[in-house]
């Protein structure tokens, strides 16, 4: 299998706080990897390091074999290949749904307005938001916003999508529509890294589940193994805590 992202001995400090303490992880093309773990374990930080929203302190990240930390590597290029979907949606407030999906294509990929609009429209329809192309973000519900955000990321034709808790900010009745969208993308074979607290979703959709604890990957395996036969004590404890909550 072709290696898409290789993370090697990644460390990240925030001042004196050592947050990532040597993470090693490889994502292959077409793979869906979910990252689980307790709050503060460094999941978001890891994800944000992958597209350089945070700069790693040491270690290396390769994207399709090239180190993204080298000075020659174009960050702007990297980011067009890596889509990111945020917990808080972060739709551009001054733009409607369609424009949200168009702006990056025109500005960064230099596509024509017309072409960009067509691609944007296709993606909005794909996530079931075609009817809302002219709606501004504040006219949309949380679930609708998140679907537009996914369409925005898709419009850049990324090789890989990064999701940071895409459903955590949603009212329970809207979680389903967003997860359904992500499932459909997984079925299409899009490479995805998803940080989530939705264990059922992680079990269904992922090829591999990564359990993070205190800045390192504590366990990494297929969903069946992780959820049914966890090897590590801290994985067991985490899963037990999660199950008790629900």
């Amino acid at each position: 299998m072709e290696k898409m992202i290789e993370i090697k001995d990644l460390h990240k400090d925030f001042g004196k706080n050592h947050i990532l303490k040597g993470v090693n992880l490889t994502i292959h093309r077409g793979e869906v990897v979910t990252i689980i773990g307790s709050s503060g374990s460094g999941k978001s930080t890891l994800l944000r390091c992958i597209n350089m929203l945070e700069e790693p302190t040491s270690g290396d990240i390769l994207f399709k074999g090239d180190s993204i930390l080298s000075d020659e590597y174009s960050l702007s290029q990297l980011r067009t290949h890596l889509g990111m979907v945020f917990q808080q949606f972060n739709l551009f407030e001054n733009k409607n749904a369609l424009q949200n999906c168009v702006i990056g294509q025109v500005q960064v990929l230099k596509r024509s307005q017309k072409e960009a609009e067509k691609i944007a429209m296709d993606n909005l329809c794909k996530v079931g938001m075609g009817e809302f192309q002219n709606a501004s973000p504040k006219q949309l519900s949380g679930g609708q916003k998140q679907r537009v955000a996914i369409a925005r990321a898709l419009s850049m034709n990324p090789d890989c999508l990064l999701f940071d808790e895409p459903t955590s900010a949603l009212d329970p009745e809207m979680v389903g529509e967003v997860l359904k969208t992500i499932r459909e993308l997984a079925a299409e074979g899009l490479t995805m890294v998803v940080v989530t607290h939705e264990m059922g979703f992680a079990k269904d959709v992922s090829d591999r589940v990564v359990f993070m604890d205190q800045g390192v990957i504590a366990e990494e395996n297929t969903p069946e193994e992780i959820f049914n036969h966890p090897k590590e004590l801290r994985t067991k404890e985490f899963l037990k805590r999660i199950l008790e909550q629900h």
Binding site: V108, E131, A135
Partner: protein
């Protein structure tokens, strides 16, 4: 001049030059053939503003109005004597001395008395008018023929409250000093009705009163038998720059105008002064109507100037604020050289903000307009100077407002833009700035309204905005309440209109709270709005 002051001046000058770049000197500078005279054009009968060139009034520099009056006639004679062309510059009282010392004008002929205080800053010519205290009495009264103060023994005399006229009554032996009165119309009524035997006045007012009411007689005293007045109180002279070469020739010209000629000029001025033919009766609405009819155009011009300056000033100021605000969002460069420049500019901007927020606009106007001319000989067109002053003043405030506006844009907006590969510039241009504009719109509107009101201080640099025009009109008709009521309404209409327009824009930008998807509504779920 102290070194830091030079730097301050340099900063104040370079900055507008950078942001405006259009500070060419106007033709009014150092023109040897011109005799530029400053006056308020709002202190009849010495000087006033009128709409036409009737009675040989002189056009006011850079305006559509004309100046007339005793001062204008004297100025005309002086200019003739000097062989120069007369230019009348209309400047508010406080701006006269700075305009003279900075070389914007050559002389002040504005009914100004040569007090000791003023003599410290400027020179004065010989007096061109002697105020003389007189006594107004009724025709046929026993005092009609009086020639000396002693003749008023036992007379019931009053004068205007708080003036030297009233104080001077004490010089009359055995007088019956009555309570002081508020204004001349009141004293005239009292005299007419016989409540008093006379009131103390000046020859100028006396001539006016005698003209209005032929029943009045003006008693002028014989030499040495009248009221004693200090020279500073009783004379009016031409203000000139210290050591001005014009002093000698001007004194010569003035010496050739005889006392009789001067009195005749004054009498003519009194006759021609605006409102001289009006009677003082008539209520509030009569006067409002009259003021609107006679001065409406002038007010509208003033309002136009006010709007022009505050609109351009607000727009440019907002642009300055945006530029600096955006500059401050640029991440600190890593290279040492770039970082040095970056830090230098940041410090410069901080100084700019502190200086302009920490000083009144009237002071800034003085420094930039007159100070620049005095220190560096730089002359800027008045209106442009005014726009620059309002712009950089507004800019200082807007920088902070923009900072708040950027701060209010969610951090997620920057990250989302970054995450799809947009550069800092693209992010700013397409995502942040539009949101900042929306955020700062209310505060910008506020600045605009403040500017409309604050431009009233610009009359010190001879900009005829609305407030200055109002002062001119009320100075001529003495109808302060009615005049300023009219002006108040104009100000209110302007600010109210601006506020309403901005509110509309805000609403438009915000759009409706709900979205109706097009197409068959039966099939789509209705969006819910979460806030």
């Amino acid at each position: 001049m102290k070194k830091w002051m030079t730097w301050l001046f340099a900063f104040l000058l370079i900055f507008p030059a950078l942001t405006w770049g259009n500070s060419e000197a106007t033709a009014e500078t150092n023109d040897e053939d011109l005799f530029r005279v400053g006056m308020e054009a709002g202190y009849p009968p010495f000087n006033w503003t009128q709409q036409t060139d009737k009675n040989g009034a002189v056009p006011i520099d850079g305006q559509k109005e004309y100046a007339g009056g005793y001062d204008v006639e004297i100025a005309r004679k002086v200019a003739e004597g000097l062989g120069k062309k007369l230019v009348i510059v209309k400047i508010s009282w406080d701006g006269l001395a700075p305009a003279l010392t900075s070389g914007k004008i050559d002389a002040i002929i504005a009914g100004m008395s040569p007090t000791e205080e003023r003599k410290k800053a400027i020179d004065f010519s010989e007096a061109y008018h002697h105020a003389e205290l007189v006594m107004m009495v009724k025709k046929g009264s026993p005092f009609e023929e009086a020639r000396s103060l002693a003749d008023f023994e036992g007379a019931k005399i009053t004068g205007q409250l708080g003036t030297l006229h009233y104080d001077a009554i004490d010089q009359i032996p055995g007088v019956q000093k009555e309570l002081a009165m508020d204004d001349f119309p009141a004293m005239r009524v009292a005299l007419e009705s016989g409540v008093i035997d006379g009131y103390v006045s000046e020859n100028v007012e006396g001539l006016t009163a005698r003209k209005i009411n032929p029943n009045f007689v003006m008693v002028q005293f014989d030499e040495g038998k009248g009221f004693e007045l200090s020279e500073a109180d009783s004379t009016v002279a031409i203000g000139l720059r210290k050591g001005s070469p014009l002093t000698e020739p001007i004194n010569e010209v003035l010496g050739n105008i005889s006392r009789e000629q001067r009195e005749e000029i004054m009498a003519t001025a009194i006759e021609q002064q605006p409102g001289a033919e009006d009677d003082a009766t008539g209520g509030f609405f009569f006067w409002v109507k009259k003021i609107v009819e006679e001065n409406g155009v002038m007010f509208l011009r003033g309002a136009g100037m006010t709007l022009l300056i505050s609109l351009i000033g607000t727009v440019l100021g907002t642009a300055i604020g945006m530029a600096i605000g955006m500059f401050r969002t640029i991440p600190t460069p890593k290279k040492a050289g770039k970082r040095g420049l970056f830090n230098f500019l940041n410090t410069l901007f901080s100084i700019y903000i502190e200086v302009f927020r920490g000083t009144p606009m009237i002071v800034q106007s003085m420094v930039i307009y007159y100070g620049a001319a005095q220190a560096f000989g730089i002359n800027i067109n008045r209106t442009i100077a005014a726009i620059i002053i309002v712009s950089i003043n507004t800019g200082a405030y807007m920088t902070e407002i923009v900072r708040g506006g950027i701060f209010a844009v969610d951090k997620g907006q920057f990250e989302a833009a970054q995450a799809i590969g947009m550069t800092h510039y693209q992010t700013m241009r397409h995502i942040v700035v539009p949101q900042v504009i929306r955020n700062i719109l209310p505060a910008t509107g506020n600045e605009f309204v403040i500017n409309i009101k604050d431009t009233s201080v610009l009359n010190v640099i001879a900009v005829s905005e609305l407030f200055f025009q109002a002062k001119t009109v009320s100075g001529a008709n003495f109808r302060f309440f009615e005049t300023f009521s009219v002006v108040c309404v104009i100000y209110f209409v302007m600010t109210f209109a601006v506020t309403q327009i901005l509110r509309r824009i805000e609403k438009k930008l915000d759009g409706p709270g709900h979205y109706e998807p097009y197409g068959n509504q039966m099939q789509v779920q209705k969006p819910e709005t979460i806030d």
